[in-house]
Amino acid sequence: MSIPAELRYTSDHEWVREDDDGNVVIGITDHAQTALGDLVFVELPEIDTELAPGDACAVVESVKAASDVYAPLAGKVVEINSALEDSPERVNDDPYGDGWLYRLRPEDPKQLEDLLTADDYERLLVDSEEE
């Protein structure tokens, strides 16, 4: 299970990457795509949508289940990965790369510090496995 050290995470299995321009890229983790199985549909937020932390802003649907994706921090959607419309399998094939979901201009970049580190997230997965 891949958990890149340079990313931040949420307990809802989203990852967040800070880009040089201050925007953040958001996707779902390798664990999330494995648990969901092959995706057949991805619904993304509209550009310019203002999101509050915890807002359900995207949907990932596999043959097993449809799951909401929640906004990890407040901000405005500036770009979406439209390629997923025709090829949702990118999320399965490359969850931290080609399978990114959307790009956000954070309201307060400091909120990033509140998110889980790779170590935190790994511990969360281990704990939930032991339950």
């Binding site: 199985g37 092959d38 057949v40 549909f41 043959v63 097993k64 289940a65 949702p88 399998e89």
Partner: protein, 495 residues
């Protein structure tokens, strides 16, 4: 053997009426109304058509041919008596627009069905018109909304739904213009009361609950839940999916529910599966009666009549043409009359006994229960998480292997809260021998999983169609047949 599509059997000019050339022409349609191009329908003889559909029906897994323990669906046997009485010529031949004076027999049955459903659920009034469970849900939440709006309380738009609920619950609330707040479930399968207390407020329209829940356990603190929601000004909606477990024993009305939908096609034994026709009758507490969907049947001095919108200006309106699925309602009516009050209690007792017996036998056979400390209601959950980890064979592989054993698979991967789960509901109409046979089949599959899980990955081996590529089917949805070289053909159409 593969069965060709009916379209592939099509030959130009061949028709059911081909052997009767004289009768095939109808001369009373004006020429300008006749179509100039033939419709895109298969052209086959009557005999070819009958054989085709008979062969397809023989490939079916159905309650008439196989044990069908599909959790949360209550696939019980549909007694033949219900069908033969509902098919009496007086019922079948009645025109839906026949005046009430000419429909007293049918209206009497509908009236008595309303009365029996009120009695067995503890509700004040019932409307039979919703055509299926999802429409019954829609009617229920629409009535809750209408009730609040009619009181001038416009801010109650939030509906609470436990995370174990059927997916239709949040969908229904959304369709009614409400927002959904999800409630967590505690480790024992009950609604988390602390979370409920935090969630209710002046914005709460109501809560949608299934009891017993989809986890197969009875919500023990229902009284407290009802008090919390009512105190906050919200109403309680009962999803009747699992009514079979409590029939004649406990009444949703007595638990504090304000509105309920019943799946007559589950609990009251009318044929279902494959998309209908169903019946999602709704029952309400007195304060919601003015909002019931129409028509309903009333009785004055021994005469039965329709109640329409003139008498019920606050009604949420019509949900179907005429009287819902009249034939389904009649079958449910006969079934209830045959059962009587004692028979209804027996339904709940044997549904629960069969489920608990099967649950214990599967545990003895080495399977893990999702809620080992709880008594099952009419269904229960086995989790194959341990087996999947140890052998690689998951819940889907077990489900497919069951088909080869001659059993319809239980519900798989639902509820979503439990990993690698099978939701199993034997119903009251199965014998001990059938249930024992199912346990032995599960044991054989478990042994196979430990021996050679890859064999299970290939299952089913004996069905007309082997395992489908469900990912490809979803990504390249193609459900319309069109012959090659037509504008509708798949090559030309946008996929």
């Amino acid at each position: 053997m593969d069965e060709a599509l009916i379209f592939e059997r099509s030959r130009p000019g061949r028709a059911a009426t081909s052997q009767f050339p004289e009768s095939a022409q109808s001369n009373d349609i004006p020429a300008e109304l006749l179509r100039t191009s033939p419709p895109l329908l298969p052209q086959t003889s009557e005999l070819d058509t009958v054989r085709h559909f008979t062969r397809l029906s023989q490939k079916n897994f159905s309650i008439d041919t196989h044990f069908y323990p599909l959790g949360s669906c209550t696939m019980k046997y549909n007694p033949r008596a219900c069908n033969s009485l509902a098919m009496l010529p007086g019922f079948v031949g009645r025109h839906p627009l026949a005046p009430a004076t000419r429909s007293q027999g049918f209206l009497a049955c509908m009236y008595e069905l309303q009365e029996m459903l009120q009695e067995v659920t503890g509700m004040a009034a019932v409307s039979l018109t919703p055509m299926a469970g999802a429409q019954g849900e829609l009617a229920g939440v629409a009535m809750i909304r209408a009730y609040h709006v009619n009181r001038g309380d416009l801010v109650r738009t939030e509906v609470l739904v436990p995370d174990a609920a059927h997916g239709t619950n949040p969908a229904t609330a959304t369709m009614c213009g409400c927002t959904v707040k999800e409630l967590p479930t505690d480790a024992q399968g009950d609604v988390d009361l602390a979370a409920l207390r935090n969630a209710v407020g002046p914005q709460t329209a109501g809560i949608m609950l299934t009891n017993p829940s989809t986890l197969g356990v009875f919500e023990r603190r229902i009284d407290e839940i009802a008090a919390i929601v009512h105190e906050a000004g919200g109403l309680l909606y009962y999803d009747g999916a699992n009514l079979n477990a409590i029939l004649g024993k406990v009444r949703p009305g007595d638990m504090g529910f304000d509105v309920i939908h019943m799946n007559l096609h589950k609990t009251f034994s009318t044929p279902h599966g494959g998309g209908g026709p169903g019946s999602g009758a709704v029952g309400v507490a007195p304060r919601l009666e003015p909002f019931l969907p129409l028509p309903v049947v009333a009785r004055d001095d021994g005469h039965y009549r329709w109640v329409d919108a003139d008498e019920r200006p606050l009604s949420i309106g019509r949900l179907s043409a005429f009287m819902g699925n009249a034939g389904v309602l009649l079958r449910a009516y006969v079934y209830m009359r045959l059962l009587g009050a004692a028979g209804m209690e027996r339904v709940a007792e044997y549904a629960t006994l069969n489920a608990n017996y099967l649950m214990v036998e599967l545990r003895k056979a080495g399977f893990d229960l999702a809620f080992p400390d709880r008594r099952a209601s009419h269904e229960f959950i086995v989790t194959l998480k341990r087996q999947a980890k140890a052998t690689g064979a998951n819940a889907m592989d077990f489900a497919k292997a069951l088909l080869d054993e001659g059993y319809h698979a239980p519900t798989t991967y639902f509820p979503l809260l439990v990993p690698e789960c099978l939701l199993i509901e034997p119903t009251e109409t199965e014998s001990k021998e059938t249930i024992d046979g199912f346990v032995q089949a599960m044991q054989r599959i478990l042994a196979q999983a430990h021996e050679d899980a890859s064999h299970l990955k290939g299952a089913p081996y004996s069905t007309p169609v082997r395992r489908l590529d469900d990912v490809r089917a979803a990504r390249q949805l193609d459900v319309c047949y069109a012959p090659a070289n037509t504008p509708e053909a798949p090559e030309a159409a946008e996929l």
